[in-house]
Amino acid sequence: MSAFRMKNRILKGTLYYRLMSYFLIVMLIPLLMLTLTNFSAGNRTIGRNLVEQGELAIDRAAIRLKTIIESYRHKAYVISTDETVIAELAANAPEASSSRSKAIYETLFSVMRGDTYLASATVVSSSGQVRYSTHLFPKRYDIRYNQNDFNPFFNLSRTASETASVITTENRYSTETNASVFLNIYRKVRDSTGLEIGYVAVDVFYETLFNINDRLVFSDLILIDTSNYLANSLINSDLHGDFSKFPALKSLHAPFDQRSIVENTTIISLAPIANTSFVIAGITDITPYRQSVEHFFIILVIIVLLGTVIAGFLSYFFTKTIEKPVNTLAKTMRKVESGDLSVHIEESSIAEFAQLDRTFNAMIGQIVNLIKLTREEEEKVREAERKALHSQMNPHFLFNTLNTVKALASLHGEEQILTITTKLGKLLREIIDNRNTEQTLENSLDLVANYLAIQKIRYGDKLTATIDMDKHLAHMNIPRLIIQPLVENAIIHGLEPKIGQWTLHIGAHVVGQQVIISIQDNGIGITDIDIPEHLEDLAYTEHVGIYNIYRRLQLRYGDQAKLTIATQPGEGTTVTIILPIAAEENV
């Protein structure tokens, strides 16, 4: 039975773990594939896309910025070559007549053509005496007070070409209209003799950059002046200075040609602006993409964990649903094994098992019918035997006569006759008169005791017989006439042919979960036949008596009952019957 349970556990184990692994495979394979695609190809694609996007956008921004710079440089050039302006600066008269100054203003505003909210234009003579501006005249251009290094135009003399413009981001200031200047274009004004008579400054405001970061590709756009390593954020007007102010630029170094630099958290897209020392750098923050990938990974882990738990539960419940009908079937089969044929399995709700249950029930039905047939046959034989006996002699006559003999013996004080008649009467009653198929072990052994009491009178001291039974076995039911015929066999075949003392021991004891009944004699042993390994083979020999006992035990207990014969010629024979103690519950 324990072996069966073990098998059952292994079955349960394999079923559960198999199901679990199937579920996991089904769930994990698509997930793994999705992950692989995302992490290998997907991640790289995102990176490449970002770089490409950055390169395109930075090109656009560079072109746009170049256009802006070119247009204002041109305006500065136009102003610097204007006749009116040259004439006014050459005059260098502090109190300009209103007509002249009006002509100058006309020139300035016509050149700026309504762009005054995007840039300012300023004209100043080299002495600082003549000053014009489209806006309030910026103090920094008042060169009367700003000498040498403080003079913003000082650098103009150091430029390579005397006639070219200087473009710089060094002179940032805010106008009276709160427009911020981010770029200055300076030019010298010379008279017809080539003498340097004044300067033109065009200051470009941040407003010109309003759509430089279209589609918001970059987290920041930085204009870098490669001549002095100063940087200006084109998006945040307050952010300017050397590279240390820009975390993204910290590791940036020359050359500043067109390229993309992929860093840990940023992609820097660089584009030089033609004909200037400027480079524009677009900063793309890739942290959000990183984070979205991390989120994806966390979600994936959660899905896998959740899926594993669900697979575990599903496998468990599925195993349970299968386990129930299987266990029911196994339990019922064990019952059948131990001889209980009154079983009936409720059909399982699972179609496949229901079919199994139906087949099993049908099979049990057939077995029961077969056994019934066999029993009926046996009953018929017994009935025929009893009728044959009855037709020869009325048993009541037999019993009444025995009673009379007993009365006579009693009246005459014949103790032995009294014992023999009383015991014989009981013995015959038990054999002829009893219609029950079972009796208690105590009654069975009483019958044996009666039989032995008679034999004891016949053989006297020659026969020593003992009966020994565990007290609590007294009420255990066993098939009737199992032990007495074996005792009779022991006396007739084992002891009677033997010279000398005869001993016979009958024991009934509990050993573990079994009851062991033994009939042990010290007779001559069994010599005339070989005891076959399978007692079934006794069926067609003359030892049909012991076969009958074996068959009846088989019918009652199934394979749980055993009958064994151990014999040693000249030493004796021991017949052992092993019965299950638990079989009592099934009765």
């Binding site: 025995l402 009379t404 009246l411 009383t422 009467g425």
Partner: protein, 261 residues
């Protein structure tokens, strides 16, 4: 010490003599007051001697042992028979026979059976004593009517409504749908009285009520109270009230008349 009386009925003289002589009756506290060898003289003998116990064979000349017992006011009987037929045994159980021993009889078995029977009789006597102790003859017997256990109360209710029919332990247990042994045990536990004693006492009480009606014969009273025959009624009545029904009636009528004076 008062010995219980016993009558033996057996048609085979050898067996009868063996029974008489080999069983140590005195030691058991019994006295064989008569023997008979056929059913008719057996009945007459039992009716005249009113023994406590009868031991009888079933097959007897005249009438069989079971019919004889049915006619007599016998409370306790043991049957000795060569027949193990089921129908005989069933009838014996219905008659309240104490034991059924098969021939050839093992004297040890008979001895044991008698000892058990005597114990049983002793218990009965204790019950009767309990019921009759200190009671005036006119009052009848005091019986507990409600004991607080619904099964026992239902049994008492069943007795109250059906005592006039031939009901016993078996019928009551069937009516209540419980086992006889369970009913017996519960009943004894809650009322302190054996179920059969209780039902007999109840019937005696009803009989005492009916005796006030002079137009009813003792036989009619017996049958109206659920006793199978007048002999049995007389026996039970005497057991509880100490005198026979007719004597009791005469004495009561006398005392009634004297109180009218």
């Amino acid at each position: 010490m008062t010995r219980h009386t016993i009558v033996l009925v057996e048609d085979e003289l050898l067996t009868l003599r063996e029974l008489e002589t080999t069983i140590d009756w005195t030691q058991l506290g019994l006295q064989v007051v008569g023997t008979a060898s056929d059913g008719i003289s057996g009945e007459a003998l039992i009716k005249s001697l009113e023994p406590d116990i009868v031991i009888t064979d079933i097959r007897l000349p005249g009438q069989d042992g079971l019919s004889m017992l049915a006619q007599c006011p016998v409370n306790h009987a043991i049957i000795l028979s060569g027949h193990s037929d089921f129908s005989y045994m069933q009838q014996a159980i219905r008659l309240g026979v104490f034991d059924y021993l098969l021939k050839p009889v093992d004297n040890n078995d008979l001895h044991q059976s008698l000892e058990k029977l005597l114990n049983h009789i002793k218990e009965e006597e204790v019950d009767v004593e309990k019921l009759t102790k200190g009671k005036m003859i006119e009052e009848g017997l005091e019986l507990p009517q409600s004991v607080g256990n619904y099964i026992v109360d239902a049994a008492i209710e069943f007795i109250r409504t059906s005592y006039a029919k031939q009901i016993g332990l078996q019928e009551t247990a069937e009516y209540l749908n419980i086992s006889e042994s369970h009913l017996c045990r519960l009943f004894k536990e809650y009322t302190q009285i054996n179920f059969l004693q209780y039902i007999s006492a109840w019937r005696i009480n009803k009989a005492i009520e009916l005796m006030g009606n002079p137009s009813l014969s003792i036989q009619a009273i017996a049958l109206n109270c659920g006793f199978p025959n007048p002999g049995y009624f007389a026996k039970i009545f005497k057991k509880f009230m100490g005198i026979s029904p007719s004597k009791y009636r005469n004495e009561r009528n006398y005392s009634n008349e004297s109180s009218m004076d």
